[in-house]
Amino acid sequence: MQTTDKKTKTVLVVGGGVAGISAALDLAGNGHRVHLVERGYDLGGQVAKLDKFYPTDHCAFCPLWTEIRRCKEDEAIAIHPLSRVETLEQQPGGYRAVVVQSACVVDPSLCINCGRCETACPKSVAKPIWEHAYPPVHVIDGNRCGDCRACVEVCPTKAIAFDREEQRVALDADEVIWAAGFDEVSLAPMKEYGWGTHPDILTSLEFEAWKAEAGDNQGKIIRRSDGAVPRSILFVQCAGARDLRLLPHCSAVCCMHALKQAQWVKRRHPDIDCVILYTDLRTVGRDYYEYALRDFNGNGVRLVRGRSSLITPLPDGNGIAVKYEDTITGKREIRQFDMVVLNGNLQSSLASKPAPGARPELSGEGFVTAAAVSCGFVMEPADVTESAIQAASAALRTITDKN
C-alpha cells in the first residue's frame, strides 16, 4: 500500500468558500495545480458574508481574507469566478469538466469602482458590489435595467458592455473535490413560520447581513419594516431542520449562530428582549458550551426550550404574534415580538433544485456520499473549523492513492 506519488496533479475544486479555499491552498502548498470554480464574484462563500465568528466574536472576514489573498497570489491556483461546472465526464486517467462563466455586464478587470454609472443610471440598477468583495466594483442588475445605456457612455474604462456572452472552457483534471457549500432553503412551504409574510420575519443569514457592521445599516439593529429599534427579537431554532417534512438533518451551526447573534444584539441594546427557542442546544466545539453559559448565567438572552407552532404578522404594524410551548414549564404562550429570526434551513447546495450543473452521487438528504471526495457543508453540516479540517483531509485523499 506504500505509495509515493511525486507526480503533479491537477485538481478541480468546486466551490470557493472556506472548504474550497482551504483545499486549494493545501493542494498548491504540496506542489499540485488547482482549478477553483466559484459561483460568486469573489471567493469566500457564505462565511465572507458573516459579520462575526463564534465563539471569539472576532471579525469573520479578516482571517478569511488572508486565505483568499493567498489563493489569489498562488500561481498554481486558477480561479474561475462567476462559474459553474456544467458537465463532468470521466475520461482515461481523470476527468474533463466543462465550466461555464456567466456573462458579466461590468468587467471586473477594468472597473475602477468610480461610481459614475451609479450616478448616471436613471433606474438605480448600477450598485456597488457587497463590501467584502475584492476588487470592489459596481454591478448592474440586467433584469431591472431600462436599456438606456447611460452607464456605457459615462464609464471611463469601457468596463460596461451589454453584449458579452457566457464563456465555456473545458478543463482537464486528475481529481475532483466537491466543496460547494450550502444554500438556504425557502421556508415558504412551511406556512407556520410565516416567512415572506412580514419584513421583520428574517432568516438568520438575512439578519446577519441586515445587522452587519459593514452592512447597509452599519451595525444598527433596526426593524426592516419601519427602521425603529425593535423591543424584542425571537430566534427560532430548527426552522425547517430536524423536520422530516423538509430537512431531516441538524444543520449543526445554527445553535451557536443564534447565540452569537442574540448576544451581539444584547451587547448593543441591553433593553431588547432576546429569546432563543431551541430544541437541543448543540454546543460541541471548543469553548462553545461556555459561550452558551453566558446566557444560562443571566447575561440576558433568554433560552426557552420549545418549538413554535405559528408565526403570523399582527395588523397595523404591531409586530408579529408567535404561538409556542415552553416544554420545560409546560406553558403554552402567545406572545408578540418585533422581529423573528428563523434559523436552521440550510442544505447542501448540490441538493438545490434545479440542479446547479454536474454533481456527484448524493445521499437521500443531499450530501455527497463517500463515492466522491468532498469537504465542508456538502459532505456533512460543518462549521468553519470542521470544514477546514475536512478540506485538508480531502486534499490528502486526492493527491495520494486512496486506500
Binding site: 500500500m1 506504500q2 509515493t4 506519488d5 511525486k6 472556506v18 482551504s22 493545501d26 502548498g29 504540496n30 506542489g31 465568528f53 482571517p63 478569511l64 488572508t66 486565505e67 489573498r69 493567498r70 489569489k72 497570489e73 477594468l110 475602477i112 469602482n113 468610480c114 475584492y134 476588487p135 470592489p136 471611463p156 474604462t157 431531516p248 438533518h249 441538524c250 449543526a252 437541543d280 442546544l281 448543540r282 454546543t283 471548543r286 469553548d287 462553545y288 458550551y289 453559559l293 420545560i328 409546560g330 438528504e365 450530501f367 456533512e380 460543518a382 462549521d383 473549523t385 470542521e386 477546514a388 485538508a392 483531509s393 486534499a395 490528502l396 485523499r397 493527491i399 495520494t400 486506500n403
Partner: protein
Amino acid sequence: MAKIGVILCNCFGEIGNTVNLESIRERIASDPSVDFVSIRESLCQPGDSAAVHALVRERGIGKVLLGACSPYGRMEIVRQGLAKEGVDARTVRAVDLREGCAWIHGKDPVAATRKAANQLDMELALLQNMQDSRDVAIGVQREALVIGAGPAGLSAACGLARMGIRVHLVDRGTAPGGLLNVVTKVYPTELSGPEKLKPLVEMTGSSPLIRFYGKTKVASIKGYAGDFKVTLTGPEGSAALRVGAVVLATGARLLFPQGLYGYGKTKNVITQMEMERQLATGKAACKTAVFIQCVGARCAERPYCSTICCPMSLKNAMRILDEVPGSKAVILHRDIMTPGSVLEAFYRKALHRGVQFIRFDADRPPEIRGDGQVSGVEVFDVLSGVTRSIETDLLVLSTPLVADPESAALARMLEIPVDKHGFIAEVYPVHPVETRNDGVFICGTARWPASSDQAIAQGEAAAVKAASFLGTGTVSALTLSRVPGIKLGHAQADAEACTGCGNCVAVCPYEACKLQRVGQRSVSRVIKVRCKACGSCASVCPNGAMQIPEQNYRVTGAMIRRAFREVR
C-alpha cells in the same frame, strides 16, 4: 543610495480632479533622492504594468513609490501586475490618494492635496531609510515525529508516509490504536475499533517509511520549524532524532467519576468505556440499562461538552436492546448532541429502535437507589413535569474526555499554549491543526474531544500541512509568514545595546525572543524563523536594541520629522 521613481495615478480624474497632481509633482521632484515623477492616467488597466516596468528598467531605479488607490481599491491588482512583470514587491510602496484623499476630502481640494503631499513625503522618508532584514533560510529535515499512535497519530503517520515523508511514530503503549482499541463498535458503523484502524495499523507495520517506537516517551524537544532535535527514551535506551515537523496526537484521558452516582462504591455502576470492555467479553447482560449523560461534564468544574458521549450512549443503548432479548434501555440526558446529518439519523434510529429518552435538568440530577448494588433511578422528567422511577440493574455513566497532563507537558516543551481545560489550542478556526509554533501540528483528542472519524480527518489534515513545508527544502521567516502580500522581515537584536532586561521575551507572542548568556551578560536573541515581525519587542525595548530593519526607529523618526517639516 538607490534612486526612487514616483508614479502618480490620475485614475481617469478620480484623483486628479480633486488633488492637484501637478503641484505635487513639482514639490516631490525637488527631493534629491527622487529620480523622476510621472503622472499616468491609470495603473490598473491592461498594459499599464508593462509600461511601468519599462519605465523602471529604463531609468534603472531601485525603489518605486506609487500614489494611487487604497489597498482595498485596486492597489493589489497593480502590485500583482508589477510582480508578474518582475518588479520586486519589497521595493514598491504605495500611498492611497483616491479613497483617503480625493474621495473623502472631495469638498476641500486644498486639504486633499496637502494630505496627499504629506503622505507621499512620509513614504519617501521611509524608502530613503529602509533597510533589509537579510532573510535567513534554514534547511528542512525531511522527516517528521508523530507523538501518539491512536486514530489521529496513525492517520497522520500514514498520511505523511503516503506523501513520501519518513515518519517516527512514538507511543507510550506497546501497540498502536490508543483508546479506540477498547471500542467494540465504532458509532455509527458496525466495525470494532481495531477493525476500523486495521488499514492504518497494517500500513504502519509494512511501510518502510514509518518506524514505530512502542513503550517510548519523548524526553526532550528543542528547535524550531524545519529542525527539531528530539530525544526519545524507550525500552532500548534513549535515541536522538532530527525532524522537520512534529505532530502532537497524544490523545485524552477518561474521567472516572469517583463519588458521582455511587461510582466506585456501588455494584453495576460503570462508565461508558467500562461498558465497552464488558460488551467485548459478552458480560453486559441486564434487564434495564440506564445511561446518564454529562456526568462530570457541562458542569462548573468542566464546562464543556465532550462531543462523543451522546452518540456512544445511543449506540450502546441499541446494542443492549439488540443483544439482550426483552431488555430496556433508557437514556437520561440534558441536550442530545447529535449535530449534522449522520448523527441526527443515528438519533432517529435509536428513537425508532425503542430507546427511551428522559430529559433532566442539571439542577435536579437523577438519584440512584440501592445499597451496594444499584436497583433503581429516580429522575425528574422536565418535559412531562413528573418524577419517574425506573428499576435498573445497570447504570452507565457517560463521562467526558479530559486533557492528559502529559500532553500539557509536551506542549510546554514545544512552547505552544493549552486552553483552560488543558487541551492544546490551535491558531485560528481557519487553521485548525496548526499551532503558534510553526512546524508543530495537533490532531485528535489532545486538541479537543473528537470522534474517531474526526480524529482521523484531523490526522490527515496535520499530515498535509506538515508535508507542505517539509517539501519546500528550506524555510525562512518570510516563507513561514502566513501573511500574504508585503512581507516584512524579522526582528533583530543589537547585542551591544541590549541590557538583557527581558521585556521582549515577555511580550513576544511567538516565543521568538530568548535570553542568551554571552560572557558575563544576558542578551536577547531572535529565533528568526519564528518571528512574524509584529514589532511587539521593538515597542517595549527601552534601548532601541530590538528593531525590524524595514521599519525601525530611524525610519519611523524620519517619517515623523518629514510629516512635521512644515510645522517646524
